[in-house]
Subunit: 435 residues, 2 copies
């Protein structure tokens, strides 16, 4: 009997991170890091796991959106789905009625991300490989077939994508061996949350460098005097050779960003992340021109490959920060990695949140082995919380992500964590409500 996709389940999982002010930034003063956690189950009982990350309220909407996508998926033959994940992604993002809710943005696109990621996880588990390796073992032609070129062909043609991948082919084996040996460079945002005291900031910054990180990141954007003070303290504590990025989380208008950064420039911030609205391609380009040599970085809220295309075409970014579940999952991220390679812009994935570290490492490692072929000026964000809820948590050594060796995408959560933090009926929330 043909194996079919039998079920697409979604659970609303929330962690009460706002109680400790972990994750506090200019626009997210009190996030409860959450996941729209998806399990895809086949008629033979195999499973794949994916998620979309949110920050609390509204996670119920992405859960509802996954349930609305499920009828497009349930009943499909598994072998056909896994053999053409480009077509599968298009099935979710091009549905003629559901695309009205985007197109390819916001809730409906994040829900598609969770489902697409779960299906990639399923494919990798069946292949017995981590996703980075699954991708890096595909031929250039197979990889190109994943890309939806409709709206990006003016910036990247199938032929150009193929040429990029073929050029990287000879070095795949050597880079794979190096990756398994050394891991992939990371930076850490752990010291830099706005809610932390100066003492805690300095202590954690020093610890990060002692742990082997060559870059840290501080949140900014609420109070210019405090930002200047915190950056000065961090720079004094770490010296001139450690890269210190700053992240405004969209707090500013274009001119305000330029003004604020002039004040921080003496302390040599490495990049400014999300200086303004993630939609403002032209605004990022204007800021970049004005604040160089400070690099401009964005991506965690950039909603699809059409926006990334324009950020690259406009020369608006020095650093492209793809996200595992903002765009439609692994499939769309393969296209984004190819666009970045075409324009020669380094990709430094956004992570943290819930399960983002676990997922994005696969994309960065695939990029290294089979696309850009380098880790120069490339780092994956790392934040040290919530990993204990994952079956295959990331492994960090000396400021590097060690390459995952377990099959899958890494998004599988421990069943006891899902049960405890399910909202609003898990024990964590019923006890809080009672207390």
């Amino acid at each position: 009997m043909t194996e079919l996709i039998a079920a697409v389940d979604a659970v609303d999982v929330r962690f009460p991170t706002s109680r400790e002010l972990d994750g506090s930034d200019a626009l997210n003063p009190e996030p409860d890091y959450s996941a729209t956690y998806v399990t895809v189950r086949t008629s033979s009982g195999q499973e794949g796991f994916g998620l979309a990350f949110t920050v609390g309220r509204g996670n119920e909407i992405t859960v509802a959106a996954v349930r609305s996508l499920a009828p497009l998926v349930v009943g499909l033959p598994v072998a056909e789905v896994l053999a053409d994940l480009g077509a599968f992604s298009a099935r979710l993002t091009r549905d003629s009625q559901l695309r009205w809710l985007g197109p390819e943005k916001g809730v409906i696109h994040m829900a598609a991300a969770a489902v697409v990621n779960a299906v990639w996880d399923l494919r990798a588990r069946r292949a017995g490989k981590p996703v980075w390796q699954l991708l890096a073992d595909l031929s250039p032609e197979e990889l190109v077939s994943l890309v939806d070129f409709r709206y990006i062909a003016d910036a990247l043609t199938p032929g150009q994508a193929l040429a990029i991948l073929r050029a990287a082919e000879p070095g795949r084996a050597q880079r794979r061996a190096k990756l398994l040996e050394d891991g992939y460079p990371a930076y850490t945002t752990t010291p830099g949350w706005l809610g932390y005291t100066d003492d805690k900031l300095v202590r954690l910054a020093k610890e990060a460098v002692a742990d082997g990180f060559g870059q840290i990141k501080l949140k900014v954007g609420v109070d210019p005097a405090a930002d200047e003070r915190r950056l000065r303290l961090a720079r004094a504590a770490l010296g001139p050779d450690v890269r210190i990025a700053v992240d405004a989380n969209q707090a500013w208008g274009v001119e305000q960003a330029i003004e604020w950064l002039r004040r921080l420039a003496p302390y040599d911030p490495y990049w400014i992340e999300e200086p303004t609205s993630p939609d403002d391609v032209l605004g990022h380009a204007a800021i970049r021109r004005a604040v160089a040599p400070i690099r401009v970085a964005t991506g965690e809220h950039v909603h699809n490959l059409v926006m990334f295309k324009q950020l690259l075409q406009a020369g608006a970014v020095d650093v492209l920060q793809l996200d595992a579940s903002r765009v439609a999952g692994v499939t769309e991220n393969v296209a984004i990695l190819l666009l970045a390679a075409k324009f020669g812009v380094p990709v430094c994935p956004h992570a943290g949140g819930v399960g983002l570290c676990e997922m994005v490492q696969h994309l960065a490692m695939f990029d290294y082995v089979a696309v850009s072929g380098t880790t120069e000026d490339r780092v994956i964000e790392y934040i040290d919380h919530l990993h204990e809820h994952f079956v295959d948590p990331v492994r960090i050594r000396a400021g590097h992500y060690l390459a995952p060796t377990e099959p899958g995408l890494g998004a599988r959560m421990r069943p006891e964590s899902v049960a405890r933090f399910a909202f609003p009926d898990g024990l964590e929330w019923t006890v809080a409500a009672a207390g």
Copy 2:
């Protein structure tokens, strides 16, 4: 006792338009025109009505999103809300957790639109005025206070907005009188759906002109030969003086759009609407440069004022087509009208759907009376279906929208229509399911 907002109700209303192929276009072959229909109720029993338009599947997600927004609204003092609708809109769009689902785009923003529109309707009903008149009676200072300048101040400052409104102030009374006399020019899309035969297209096109319309619109983008034939037939039937716009509904890539339009150019299309992804500001600019003098129009899927700002900054559009419920309702549309006026680009609102004609006429008429001060090269889209479900349907005479005189925004639906077309439990759908 202080009057409070007591309830925010949302109903999933769907019309089975796919049965007749009304509304069929390149990317929407079989839409079921739908509304996330919102009623805001105060503790004294007053009501306001708003909606977000969708095309069927997924309407349940915007309904869920309205229910997620409701706790931000219920319990607020009515007088305070109505006195500062700028702050009220920001309350919905800037919520620190919910904004992760956008920010300001897609499902969560459309849900905000429905709620914001309902509250504007409430305010206008209490004032005993149609919304266009309520807006046109506000002072320039009151209007400027509605605008969220954070991400647009590099293109439009509060001072510049004030100057635009003050310049239009002296002629308000005269234009209002003229509007009440003549109405506002319209164009019709009724003849041009892709699912119609050539004979039906020609017959309806001739009827439209006989009814007084100076512009019609044809859907294109699936088959170049058919598009050429249909445009040729329409041009032959109507002669050189009737404007015939074409609408690709995002079907093309940038280069494909340019190629396709070269083939249609001999038949003098007035504008090309949605040639490519609504997110592609730079792509629209490239298309516009290549296809002039054919005008480029877009907006129904442009998700917020940051995107409109860039379309204007990049010189990407000749015609700005705002939508009543894609951006966050009347409040955000006031900002978009001011941006368009600053750049001298005519606004021709997107309508059709469910209740969009009823709502957008208020915005265009306000623009005429108090912002741009002209109707030159400005037309409101008109489509002749589903108006019978509204309590105050649009009135068309000789190709013009007559100015509404009833209080409110026009989105109030007839209770019997809401009951019959409620999905999935209304009679229309239970009978279809049974049959």
